[in-house]
């Protein structure tokens, strides 16, 4: 190249869309500006999956909203069912039966294991480790078979956790089937630990470091915050359902890079298995829904407001509900964890990194475009 050729830095940069394709980042686009192989700046472009949930929920009764609430995030529908059911339960101020609370915890923890398996599979595929992707999605099917038997559908349980309890009881031999499936998940975890080979370490160690102070300032929650060093979990700090009676640990790491988030994923699945075993051993007998309530009952939401926070598998999922005396909620605001992870945190982490590290950073934050756009 002629050394006398006069160019400025800006003229050598080019734009590259890390675009909204499905075997890529999902339904979400990032516009990167690159200088050779280094990322100079990144701008997020959300809105491909915006359905207007908060307005849709204002025109439907609570039992119809329970069916709608499992489409807020497709990877973990049972967790969002629980957020909506808890909001209505707290507004109405009624007593949910004990057996229903135990069943809710078992279903939510199974859904959390299944969501972490998707995280591991997508992250392996983005790095290029195809074996991990295929194994992960193969083992996820055993959990979906359980859901098929209990709720009637593999992915969408259609409001199984509804305001007042759950819609149906577990079947006759369900606890043994759940324990057998958990043994298979243990096998899967030991296989994942054997795969911690050099190629995964080289691609994820030291990549995408998020220091603790910046993490709190940018609004990160859940596993991303725990990987940066803060020992906090909503199931212990702000307990709901029966979590205050159960005994489990909170895994944390200090460094805050992609490899630490991968380690936390595996340890959280082990903790969830512990929780499910304790809940199955102590489950009482009784009703599974408030006896005077069936699908055709007319519920009037009283005047008041409530804010419910839950630990979803990606972070803090919350709902703010306002009732005004009629049968439909007046305002229903949904706070998803991915809105903060995908726009401020991602733009901070991608600045100054190499282009080959972009998928490894993006998928280690466990993004879900559906609960960002709602």
């Amino acid at each position: 190249m002629n050394p006398n050729y006069n160019t400025t830095e800006r003229e050598l940069e080019y734009s590259l869309p890390f675009g909204p394709a499905h075997p890529g980042p999902g339904n979400f686009a990032v516009k990167l500006r690159l200088d050779g192989e280094k990322v100079v700046s990144a701008k997020a472009d959300p809105g491909y999956l915006h359905r207007g949930f908060e307005k849709l929920m204002e025109y439907r009764t609570p039992i119809q909203n329970a069916v709608l609430s499992d489409r807020i995030c497709v990877f973990e529908p049972l967790n969002w069912n629980l957020v909506h059911a808890q909001a209505v339960d707290e507004l109405m101020d009624w007593n949910v039966p004990e057996r229903a609370k135990y069943i809710r915890v078992v279903m939510v923890e199974l859904s959390r294991i299944q969501s972490h398996i998707i995280w591991y599979g997508s992250m392996s595929k983005a790095i290029g480790f195809d074996t991990g992707f295929k194994l992960a999605f193969g083992y996820r099917d055993y959990i979906l078979d359980l859901f098929e038997n209990i709720t009637g559908g593999r992915v969408y349980p259609a409001g199984y956790i509804c305001p007042g309890g759950v819609r149906k009881d577990l079947g006759k031999n369900m606890p043994e089937k759940i324990r057998k499936t958990l043994n298979k998940i243990n096998d899967m975890l030991s296989k994942f630990e054997k795969f911690d080979n050099l190629s995964i370490l080289v691609r994820t160690k030291g990549v995408g470091i998020l220091p603790l102070k910046k993490a709190i300032q940018l609004g990160a929650t859940g596993p991303v915050l725990r990987a940066s060093g803060l020992k906090t979990d909503i199931r212990k700090d702000d307990p709901y359902e029966i979590y205050s009676k159960l005994d489990f640990d909170i895994p944390t790491e200090k460094l805050g890079d992609s490899y630490s988030r991968l380690l936390i994923l595996r340890r959280e699945v082990r903790e969830s298995i512990k929780i499910i075993n304790q809940a199955l051993n102590n489950m009482p007998k009784g009703n599974v829904i408030i006896p005077s309530l069936n699908s055709g009952t007319h519920i009037n939401l009283p005047k008041g407001e409530v804010y419910v926070r839950n630990e979803c598998s990606r972070g803090e999922g919350a709902m703010y509900m306002v009732g005004d005396g009629t049968e439909k909620p007046y305002r229903c605001k949904i706070r998803g964890p991915s809105l903060l992870h995908q726009i401020p945190v991602l733009e901070y982490l991608l600045k100054g990194s190499q282009i080959a590290d972009v998928p490894a950073i993006y998928w280690s934050l466990n993004p879900c475009p559906a609960d960002m756009d709602r």
Partner: protein, 137 residues
Amino acid sequence: MIINNVKGSKKMSSQILKTIVELLKNLFQKPMTVKFPHESIPIPGGYRGEHGFDIDKCRSCGLCANICPNKAIKMVKAPEEYGEKYPRLYPQIDLGKCCFCGLCQDVCPTKAIKLTKNVFLSTFDSKEVIKNPVPKK
């Protein structure tokens, strides 16, 4: 440099051994997938599939049409050839709008609508998408 190489080669050889052991274990196991449509996994009871409607039990109360979240059920008169025996209004279900949630099954007081296990509903004929209320044969 030499020490690094020796350590690196030890790690590599133990890894290769682990991989070969894992390979031999999995070589003689059944695969996780089945070859659909030649074989298939049985669908369990309680699965939410197509609606089965029993017109003799229906009371024409209209509760199913009120509770459907997507407004997929509409109360219409029965087709003309059955008009004499069944003069009231009955539910007509649009399978394209239905989300198969099962609320119509839960709310029906006489259990006239029940969800069956039939999930093979794709078709080339657009008239089959709307289910009219007809008696069973």
